[in-house]
Symmetry: C2
Subunit: 80 residues, 2 copies
């Protein structure tokens, strides 16, 4: 089974990498770029066949290692 | 319109960040983790209403700035 965990910045937290990517794209001529947000995605293969267990485990991984609760939100999706 | 661009390492390119995340998760007790892959996702808002144009533009962005063709593959998806 594979879980996909998307880590993104919470609303209102500044995203300097996204801002600078927007500036760079505009300088390269992509003038219709309004906004850029950057997310990090972890695709994790688990030796586990129960979907509910996998989601619970992914939540624990976010709490313990993958996400910083002060600035990050996360979305978990089981892929198969 | 929003395009989502996923940048991932090509098959066979080593992913030290993914490997180390796997090791860290296993050390934390998530022993059923088999594999971790890390992707970067750009969510880009465009002032553009044509889906075909948006995809072409996103491809150009990948070629010019967002992806390194030596090591990266990319997937483009139009969101709305």
């Amino acid at each position: 089974m594979e879980v996909e965990i998307k880590i993104k910045l919470k609303e209102g937290i500044s995203d300097p990498e996204g801002e600078n990517t927007k500036k760079a794209l505009r300088l390269l001529g992509f003038e219709d770029v309004l906004n850029v947000h950057i997310l990090k995605t972890f695709r994790i293969k688990l030796d586990d066949s129960d979907e509910g267990d996998a989601v619970e485990e992914a939540k624990e991984m976010c709490k313990k290692l993958l996400a910083n609760p002060v600035i990050h939100d996360y979305e978990i999706r089981v892929k198969k």
